[in-house]
């Protein structure tokens, strides 16, 4: 067990966390303004297909004369457009027509599955269309040379960096700017916002649509970064995991990144262990320990962020941190017997973590007060 294993798995976790973080930010955008978004999955799926079609068709139409990067960027824009459009549909249904937002979200999810499966069956698969490739990894000079940290954070594809920038930007925007203040007011107490002259429904329209663009980026990541081509139902529940990450992150983007990283870690672990070159029990213990330590860090961060309102006991955070460190220690110093874990089980890890997190660790997460309620102008 050496640092290479560590660095590899922690870096891979960031990659795996990227689409989940984009999805969680999409949900955050909607829900902070008071609109429930369970349609992240559908928006991401739509984004993935549009990213594929956009890049392939652009490459095709220009006769392959344009550089690969141009096709990929067009794919990215197409993804945002596609997901943005069905997000707009969610907005129209739930804001204008006041359809129950869970129903509307379900409709969007089913619609996205229908459209993408149909397109794949009717057009992509029969024609055997291949993708134009993926964005190259950009190694950031100097920063990537920092031992340990460097390779984890600064040796990635551009969309990973974009995700990190968006997380920071959204955190700042939500809590430090007029836009964020108004968005939060609309999600908490729309009537109060109305009485100071804020147009509640217009703001919700804008936020839901912007949320769609973010989900589109998450979908595009799967095609333009991870796989390189479109497969039916390729989001495999990441949109719902993103929803869990958003809730677990207490409706903040930094919190959402933290929990997305936790899910990314479990996925990365599953992938890494399938290679079969490490002692699996030892690695599991190590990573669960790391996960707990990280969890304690997220909790402590949130507690600092909202002094006074966060009621999580400091002692509980300490216990989680100590348990995590103890497991890491045990992993490093005990000789673990080799055990074969079936590959199928390893692939299950992210979903198991989701269930555990939602069932056990969330505690009482308090959503924006006006969430799910259409605004009736008296």
């Amino acid at each position: 067990m050496d640092t290479v294993f560590f660095v590899g798995i922690l870096g891979l976790a960031l990659v795996k966390a990227t689409p989940i973080a984009f999805g969680a930010m999409s949900g955050l955008m909607c829900e902070r303004s008071g609109v429930i978004n369970i349609a992240i999955e559908g928006m991401m799926l739509m984004g993935a297909m549009m990213a594929f079609l956009g890049s392939v068709l652009f490459d095709d139409l220009t006769g392959g004369n344009m550089p690969q990067a141009a096709s990929l960027v067009v794919g990215l824009l197409a993804a945002m457009l596609g997901a943005g459009l069905i997000a707009l549909l969610h907005a129209v249904l739930s804001i204008h027509y006041k359809v129950d937002q869970i129903i509307s979200g379900t409709v969007i999810n089913l619609l996205a599955i229908g459209i993408t499966n149909f397109t794949a069956n009717a057009y992509i698969d029969p024609n055997g269309i291949a993708g134009v490739g993926v964005f190259p990894v950009i190694t950031i000079p100097i920063l990537s040379k920092i031992p340990f940290i460097g390779p984890i954070f600064f040796d990635h594809a551009p969309l990973v960096y974009l995700m990190l920038i968006m997380v920071a930007l959204l955190q700042y925007a939500l809590f430090k700017t007029p836009w964020g203040l108004r968005t939060r007011a609309v999600g908490e107490h729309p009537r109060a916002a109305d009485t100071v002259g804020i147009n509640v429904n217009r703001r919700r329209y804008i936020n839901v649509t912007l949320g769609g663009l973010l989900a589109g980026l998450g979908g595009a990541f799967l095609v333009l970064e991870s796989v390189g081509r479109f497969q039916k139902l390729m989001t495999t529940g990441r949109g719902f995991i993103a929803l869990a990450a958003m809730i677990f992150g207490k409706w903040t983007s930094v919190g959402a990144l933290g929990s997305a990283y936790l899910f990314g870690l479990s996925e990365a672990l599953g992938v890494r262990l399938q290679l079969g070159d490490v002692n699996e029990l030892q690695a599991l213990a190590l990573l669960i320990g790391l996960g707990l330590a990280l969890l304690a860090l997220v909790f402590a961060g949130l507690k600092l962020l909202r002094r006074g309102t966060d009621k999580r006991p400091t002692r509980a955070i300490g216990i989680v941190a100590i348990a995590g460190l103890a497991l890491i220690g045990a992993a490093l110093f005990i000789n673990w017997p080799p055990v074969e874990i079936p590959i199928q089980f390893l692939g299950l890890l992210p979903y198991v973590v989701t269930i555990l997190v939602l069932a056990g660790f969330v505690g009482r997460a308090i959503p924006p007060a006006a969430i799910g309620k259409p605004y009736e102008k008296a």
Binding site: T177, P178, L181, A192, A193, T195, V196, G197
Partner: protein, 514 residues
Amino acid sequence: MSDPVLRLAGVSKRFPGVLANDNVDFELAKGEIHALLGENGAGKTTLMNVVYGLYKHDEGQIFINGQEVEIHDPNDALAQGIGMVHQHFMLVPVMTVAENLMLGHETTRGPRLGSLSDLDDKKVAEDVKELGEVHGLAVNPGALVQDLSVGAQQRVEIVKALYRGADVLILDEPTAVLTPQEAEELFRVMHSLIAEGKSIIFITHKLKEVLEIADRITVLRDGKVAGTTTPSETSESELAAMMVGRDVILQVEKKPAHPGEPVMKIQDLQVRDQREQMVVRGVSLEVRAGEILGVAGVQGNGQRQLVEAITGLAHVEDGHVFVDGKEITNLKPRAITETGIAHVPEDRHKHGLVLAYPLDENLMLQTYYMPPFSKRTFIQPKAVKENAERLIKEYDVRTPSITTHAGSLSGGNQQKVIVARELSRDIRLLIANQPTRGLDVGSIEYIHRRIVEKRDEGVGVLLVSSELDEILGLADRIAVMFAGEILAVMPASEATKERLGLLMAGVQETPAAD
């Protein structure tokens, strides 16, 4: 004389099926406090929401300083210097005071990035500091609104309106949530603002306050102006008659009580709320047959949990409740009902009625499983119908039919349905929590009379109310509840508004004091 700051000419506002404002003329002079008086549903708030741009009027004109203006939304109103403090505060509880103050027209610092600039809380704090010093409107800009007392939240609302440059301030039922002392404090602030040249519209249904503070009074009834007068030209009973449209008896007529044996004894009761906070902290009380024990207190001091614990709706953490010597602590609500307790709950929509049920079914909710309503597991429609017809007549419930849904009745009639159901049973004890909140003067008069009647029949009554006038008018003995404790119990003859007000604010009486 110069033009009035605000003038309404022939303003009408229609809602589907209702004419909420009917050709209303109204005038506000610079530097005056103009009270807008009327019953609930008379159209006061609707009229002011028209002025504030939340509703669009169907007919009529609005003039500001003599100029006709169009007000389409609150932004227009704010631009014309009109600010409004709503009855239900328009503050976001999870945000700080500073954030609430600037919401909608934010102060920023650093690079100008439009709506993505950096918010400047410090500037806001500096800006509002002066308001606090001059007018006694001190607020803590860094505090979260949800941690503030109701009085402090109201100050934030007033500061919010002033901070936006309001010259005309509309205060909608501002004293409904305040103790008498807090109300006095508010009146001082209002005078201080008037002295500075602001003008205030003061919406209320409390007659005494109007006579105390207003320069002019306009009374609304059924959406129409019933008259405009000044405090020196009128009296409480005259104003009440204008509000209701007929003479009303403001003081409940009641004979001295003849208390008998204790019906209910509460010993050292402790109750937690949903957030696990201890909100009833060792309450001991005794209610005797044939007397009304009034529990006074500002809302949210544990009264609701006290009532819920007695009636079996909340879990009693510690302590005992006895009715006629039999312990009923933590029994099921049905068992408690069967010991002869009637309960008129605080929230008639949530706990008093099933709004989607017709009246006849609502009128048998407590005893539907017993004869005569049920025999051998089947409901007896004839008995249900007879019961409903009898009670609706006896209690003067105005309804199109006995199968009308409870939700479509007016508040006063809904409350009469609950009172009819509870009082028609054979009871030993009546627990009434805010029995007349939000009702018109006529219904209040009626319900008060019924409560006194029950007392004279020998029923013990526990009356919980945050309206001091109601407590002083009805109760034979008065207990004051503050922060989950009973601070004092006194005979009604020894109670004054001032003494109760101090106790309601948590000021303990020293035993030696006179």
